[in-house]
Homo-oligomer: 260 residues x 2
């Protein structure tokens, strides 16, 4: 009902380099991307507070009053979703490390979607008006802000494309590739990803059901392009996965499947 309760507001020590933007692991993907330490420190000084949110905790609810805040994801993952009249959630985005939350409500009075953490996370809270004011004074920040908005739009376009794929296999392959693209950590030479969501949530995101997610993942494993270990996925054949995302089925039957 109410906003995020104050007990979750854990003011982390912000004086150390590690806790400031300077030593942030998301620095390269966040507002200060590509900027020198001096500019980065200026951006850091815009941060009002840093929060720690536990998996499952909400940041804001649907229809909650907008408070002129923008949040940067320092670590963890979030989901943004709307609740339909009949009670199930439709996910509108999955902001991860370095992403800004709250850019979609500038002219609005109330949030059109809710946001909650899908993993233990740390957020940096900024005042939206102060951020804009700073942008006006520092052109580099202004350009970066525009770029991030633009990226966000492009990301949403990608989501629309993914959602309109006809086959479940394509959607999941595409989703996994996206994850692999952002979280690049290797394991025995293979790209591997940790799913930040339950099967249920992945299903909501892709317009499928949890049962289908499970089945398709196992199918992809059977086809030999990846290995599933609960939430941990090892991509053993990334090009093959890419081919599936592009719509080419496992069986190479189609010699000339030009559709249009």
């Amino acid at each position: 009902m109410s906003a995020r309760s104050p007990r979750n507001v854990i003011p982390l020590r912000m004086d150390t380099r590690a806790m400031s933007c300077l030593g942030c692991e998301a620095r390269a993907a966040c507002l200060p991307a590509g900027m020198d330490d001096e500019t980065c420190a200026r951006i850091d000084s815009l941060v009002l507070q840093r929060y720690r949110l536990l998996r499952g905790e909400g940041l804001y609810q649907m229809n909650e009053a907008v408070r002129g805040r923008v949040y940067a994801v320092r670590s963890g993952h979030f989901k943004c979703y709307r609740l339909t009249p009949d009670g199930d959630q439709r996910i509108t985005g999955l902001p991860g490390r370095g992403t800004l939350l709250g850019l979609d409500v500038l002219g609005c009075e109330r949030h059109a979607s809710a946001a909650s953490a899908t993993a233990d996370s740390v957020l940096c809270e900024l005042s939206h008006p102060r951020l804009l004011e700073a942008a006006r004074r520092f052109p580099a920040l202004e350009r970066r802000l525009e770029q991030m908005l633009s990226q966000e739009l492009a990301r949403q376009h990608g989501l629309a494309v993914m959602l309109s794929y006809p086959r479940a296999e394509q959607k999941i392959a595409c989703y996994l590739l996206q994850l692999a693209w952002s979280s690049r950590h290797l394991e025995a030479g293979r790209v591997c990803v940790d799913l930040p969501l339950t099967r249920q949530d992945i299903g909501d995101y892709l317009g499928l059901t949890d049962a289908t997610i499970t089945r398709q993942l196992l199918r992809l494993q059977r086809e030999g392009v990846l290995r599933v270990e609960r939430r941990h996925i090892v991509l053993t054949d990334q090009p093959g996965l890419q081919r599936m995302a592009d719509g080419e089925s496992g069986a190479p039957e189609a010699a000339h499947t030009a559709q249009r």
Copy 2:
């Protein structure tokens, strides 16, 4: 292959009030929304040129170099889409009157999606750098620009929600309601809309096929919520259509279909 060919660049007379932003029919939905004539005239002076595009003509192609331009739709409709490797299009957005095109490529070198007119249209071309510079000088414009970006993001969220509806009926109902919301012209007391797209394109937009669009439209007609006359649709029972978009089927069998 190449950009919009120069012969389509029809420099319309811009000196008259009717052709300027002051007398534009999209004024209330475009950049100068809510501004006085003086500010509106300033915005008008930012317009480099106005183009007339015929139905089917392209504005830019995928992978075309970005030229630092932003386009405002003065009249008509556009579709933005990506081509998949196997040749069919995935529509990422359907900008209409008053919308800005080209906001999604600020930090990019090349367009990730193509744009073309789905109806005879008039575009206003602006220089992106000059627009931003003007925004810096006029806070009202800056706020409006942010608001439009924000709106665009919210629109995309709505698209994602629509695409993840499980049933074709819901998607189409939702799409029609969106159309009705923007184009409000009445006919014998009933809201009616003219589809700016072919069945094929609507299908691409909603992740369905043209055959399904046809069948669902006729089904909705049989259910009595609308009348189909080629591209012209009369909504005879808007609340009923809304109920369908919300997922409540025609048959009121479900007393407690809580799913989650």
